[in-house]
Every structure is written in structure tokens, then in C-alpha cells.
């Protein structure tokens, strides 16, 4: 706020106007902050990479939690673990494995891009870097998927 000392005899109309705008107004955000991270409508490559990194990051954290939960079945003996192994080779589960690899590839490759660009190397090629890394990742993903579904798992 201004440090001007209040002056006597300031016109009432002026006071009314100043008072009406003293409070800072609302910020015009269509979506709350973290939700806006995933709104890529009208946004470009950089924001897409940003959103993907966040969703895969959250996904990987969630996976880590699940993974530890699953491993904890070992504490309950061989029977529970074997029960887990049974569902672990079903196609749906293998599908989730491929999804996991997708998340790891996106997060890892984009993370590498971010490390390069964010340290000041090649910032002008950030879009090209993103797409070339993603294409590379897609190739690796397809190869992995074929092997995951093709073999015993």
C-alpha cells in the first residue's frame, strides 16, 4: 500500500473510489493451479512435456507404493506371494507392466532433456529434443511390449 500519509479533507468521492479498489482482486484462473498443469489445450510442446513429467512422476510414485505393498506380501509367507505371481502373468497385468515402462521411459528421457536444457545447454532445441527422445522411447516401448507379451513374462 502507498506510504502517503492520510490527508485531511480528501474529497469523499475520491475516498469512495480508492476504497472500492483497495483490496486486491481475484486472480483469473480457469482451473486451480495443479489442475491447470494438465490443461494442454492451446499449449505447445514444452507444456506437454511439463504435464507428462508430472503425470508420470505421480504415476511412478504411486507405482512405488504399490510395489512395496506387493513386496510386503512376502512377509505373509510363500502362499500370498504365489497368489500374487498368479495374477502377475495375466495379460491385464502385463499391460500394466508396459504402462510402467512407458512411464519410466517418458519420465527418464524427458528428465534427461530437462537436465540438459535446464542447465543452459541447447535451450533452443528443446522441442526437437523432446520429440526425438519420445520417438526413441516409443521404439524401445514397442520392443519391450513385444517381449513382455511374447515371452513368459
Amino acid at each position: 500500500m502507498s506510504e502517503r500519509s492520510p490527508r485531511q479533507g480528501r474529497d469523499a468521492g475520491v475516498d469512495e473510489i480508492l476504497e472500492g479498489r483497495r483490496e486486491p482482486g481475484p486472480v483469473a484462473r480457469k482451473l486451480p493451479g495443479p489442475v491447470a498443469w494438465f490443461d494442454i489445450r492451446g499449449r505447445s510442446t514444452g507444456h506437454l512435456a511439463f504435464s507428462l513429467n508430472r503425470i508420470t512422476g505421480l504415476g511412478l510414485v504411486f507405482y512405488l507404493y504399490l510395489h512395496l505393498l506387493v513386496l510386503s506380501t512376502l512377509l505373509r509367507g510363500e502362499g500370498s506371494w504365489n497368489g500374487f505371481l498368479e495374477i502377475a502373468t495375466t495379460p491385464l497385468f502385463l499391460g500394466f507392466d508396459v504402462l510402467l515402462v512407458f512411464g519410466l521411459l517418458v519420465h527418464g528421457l524427458n528428465g534427461t532433456r530437462l537436465a540438459l536444457v535446464g542447465s543452459g545447454f541447447v535451450p533452443n532445441r528443446q522441442k526437437a529434443l523432446f520429440w526425438s527422445f519420445m520417438i526413441f522411447g516409443a521404439i524401445v516401448l514397442v520392443y519391450t511390449a513385444i517381449h513382455v507379451f511374447g515371452s513368459e513374462g
Partner: protein, 384 residues
């Protein structure tokens, strides 16, 4: 006291009167400088354009040019300007031009074509002569905003988004204004011992609210911005005023101006396509690259020209000087003054003359301090 109008004149006046100890309130219906002030191409006039036909304006310009560089340092691209002669007709204008500049104290330096092309390689290579003058480029919004910033820091209440609906008048005495605060939508009154009408081409509309008439004709001109900074200096055509005879650099753009016609309503200007074409044609005579440069914007801005209804058809014949009208003297309405006319470069000088009139009327005894006071940076105008 109340200033109506938040353009360059209003801002400079608020600054001057605040320094003299007046309690200043300024109201502006939109953003500061959103009327005419912000729209011009940004030329800090040397006055050379007026040296032959309007010596009064030329003198005002060169004086203010020098002053502004001192009180608003860091707000100008101080690269000077050129008046370029392309035809025999232009060459015939040269002697009168040089004489006029000499008479009005505008320093000149005559350059041969090869020298001129070394300074500005993109000039039309067929030029015959170039005269260097102390033109400069300003940001048409940010430079005037420094006056607002300084006035605000010194205690003036600068209220934008406040629209004047009526001037409060009773028994031949103005006591203030009825306004609508656009931020809340509510109507209220602002009282004042004196109201100054500093609304530029809207002067007549506001004066009518006080029951008086001012001889102002809104005279718009078209400007064209193209991508590419095709010159670092201001480039003018060496002739008496005409359309499209100036190219002003603005950051990474080049602005070509301007034309002139007269309208009734300063809010409804239009952008005539043939005028835009004329900018391209005339501008590319000075700097050929204008013709192929990618388009950025085309717009109109209304000059406030002083003159009666019958005075002129195109507006170019009217003087570019300014006028303070004390309506108590002219029209018997006490408490109302109009300051109008002028150009972007002379804002401080206009404010000084008007402030002299106002301080006399208000009984303030302080002299003008704006010639020496260095202005605050423009960002201070937005400070909370």
C-alpha cells in the same frame, strides 16, 4: 482540484501542480495514455518539421526536446533523425528548411548521400541530400507515464477507470464532476475548486458538459507498423508536411506515419485502407524495405487541433500549438479551464503554461519546478 483526462497533458499537469503544492485528483476513463498520447509513433520532435510553416511550434518543440532528455533520462533512443531529400522539389525546399531551423535554434548538419547511407544503409539509394536533426524516439506510453509516477509519489490521486458523466455547475460556477467508477459501476461526485479539461480530442465533449464551447476538431491520422527495425534514426521526408513522410523505429518494428483528415467523433475514427496504402507507398520512398516488410498493425489516432469549425478541411492547415482557455474569462464560467492542442513532445511545456493559469486562480504562490525535476521511472506509476 480535478483534472479530467489521463493523457500526457493531464499527467504532466498533475505532476506540475503537485510540485506547486496543489491537492490534485486526476480522473481518466480508461488506461492512462489510452486516448491519443499512447498511439503516436513515438517521435521526440526536433521541431524541424515545423521550422518553415509553424515557427511557434518549432520553437516549442526544440526547447521541450532538450528539456525532456534531461528530466526523463533513459526514456529515449537518442539516435537523432534525418530529413531526406529525394526529388528536385525536395531540394527546392532545402534552403527554406535550413533557414527555418537556424531561426528557431534547431541544430542541423547537411550530409551527402554516401554519408547518409553510411548512417542508414536502408535509405532509398537515390536520395540527393540528408539533413541531420536532433529527433529521437520515445515509447509513447512509458515516457508520459513517468509524469504520472512522479505525481503519484508526491501525493496526487490518479484515478483511472473513472468516467466523467457530467460537470457539476451551479450559478455559473463549476464545483466538481459527477463520475462513474468503472471498477464498481457506482456513480459518485468529486468536488473541486477548479476543474481542468485535459481530454485532447474529447475536449469539446467535456466542455459541453460545462455549457461552454471549445474550438477543437479531432483530426485523426493513420499509422502503419511493419516488422523489422529498418532504421535506427528517425527518417523524415524533406518537404512541407505530407502523408507518410516519417519512419520511426520502435523496438523491432518500423512505424510509418501519418495522414490527416477531420472527424466529428473522436471515438469513431476508422482506419481507411487507402490511407494505409499511402503509408506503404510514401514510406517505401524513404526506406524501400517498407514495401515488403511483414505487416504488424495499422491504426488511427486523433490529434486535438485548435481551430473553429470552418477553419480547415484536412486538418493540416491548423496550427499544432496549444492553448489554455480560462472559461471564466472567455465564457463567464468560473472554476473551469481547458488545456488543449499541442503534441506529444510538448506535454511538459503545455502543463507549465496551464499550471501558471491554474495556480493564479487557486492562489498558489509556487513557481514551476518541472524543468529541473528528474522524473521517477515509469514502473512507479503501477506501484501499490
Amino acid at each position: 482540484m480535478l483534472i479530467v483526462g489521463g493523457g500526457g497533458t493531464g499527467g504532466a499537469l498533475a505532476h506540475d501542480l503537485t510540485l506547486r503544492g496543489a491537492r490534485v485528483v486526476l480522473v481518466e476513463r480508461g488506461e492512462f495514455t489510452s486516448g491519443t498520447t499512447g498511439r503516436h509513433h513515438g517521435l521526440l520532435h526536433s521541431g524541424a518539421r515545423y521550422a518553415v510553416n509553424d515557427k511557434e511550434s518549432a520553437l516549442e518543440c526544440i526547447e521541450e526536446n532538450t528539456l525532456l532528455r534531461r528530466i526523463a533520462p533513459g526514456s529515449f533512443e537518442e539516435n537523432d533523425g534525418l530529413f531526406v531529400g529525394l526529388t528536385d522539389e525536395d531540394m527546392a525546399y532545402l534552403p527554406a528548411f535550413l533557414e527555418g531551423c537556424e531561426d528557431t535554434g534547431i541544430p542541423t548538419q547537411v550530409l551527402q548521400p554516401d554519408e547518409a547511407l553510411r548512417l542508414e544503409p536502408m535509405l532509398n539509394p537515390v536520395l540527393k541530400v540528408a539533413v541531420r536533426v536532433p529527433d529521437a524516439t520515445m515509447d509513447a506510453m512509458r515516457m508520459p507515464l513517468r509524469f504520472f509516477a512522479t505525481a503519484k509519489a508526491n501525493g496526487a490521486d490518479l484515478l483511472n477507470w473513472v468516467d466523467v458523466i457530467d460537470i457539476d455547475l451551479a450559478g455559473g460556477v463549476v464545483s466538481g464532476a459527477t463520475v462513474r467508477d468503472q471498477v464498481t459501476g457506482r456513480q459518485t461526485h468529486i468536488g473541486a475548486d477548479l476543474v481542468v479539461n485535459a481530454t485532447g480530442p474529447w475536449s469539446e465533449q467535456v466542455a459541453r458538459m460545462a455549457g461552454v464551447d471549445v474550438p477543437i476538431r479531432p483530426s485523426p491520422g493513420v499509422m502503419l507498423a511493419v516488422r523489422g527495425r529498418l532504421c535506427n534514426m528517425v527518417v523524415n521526408r524533406l518537404h512541407a508536411s505530407g502523408d507518410g513522410d516519417i519512419v520511426v523505429p520502435q523496438r523491432a518494428l518500423s512505424i510509418v506515419g501519418t495522414s490527416s483528415w477531420v472527424v466529428e467523433d473522436p471515438d469513431d475514427l476508422g482506419v481507411p485502407a487507402d490511407h494505409v496504402q499511402r503509408m506503404i507507398d510514401e514510406g517505401s520512398m524513404l526506406v524501400p524495405a517498407v514495401r515488403e516488410a511483414p505487416f504488424r498493425s495499422a491504426w488511427s489516432a486523433a490529434r486535438p487541433l485548435i481551430g473553429s469549425r470552418d477553419d480547415a478541411d484536412s486538418g493540416r492547415e491548423l496550427s499544432r500549438t496549444f492553448k489554455t482557455i480560462d472559461h471564466a474569462v472567455d465564457d463567464g464560467v468560473e472554476g473551469f479551464v481547458t488545456i488543449t492542442g499541442g503534441k506529444g513532445t510538448t506535454l511538459r511545456g503545455m502543463a507549465e503554461v496551464c499550471a501558471d493559469v491554474v495556480s493564479r486562480k487557486l492562489g498558489l504562490d509556487m513557481p514551476c519546478a518541472t524543468r529541473e525535476t528528474v522524473l521517477l521511472p515509469h514502473t512507479a506509476a503501477y506501484a501499490a
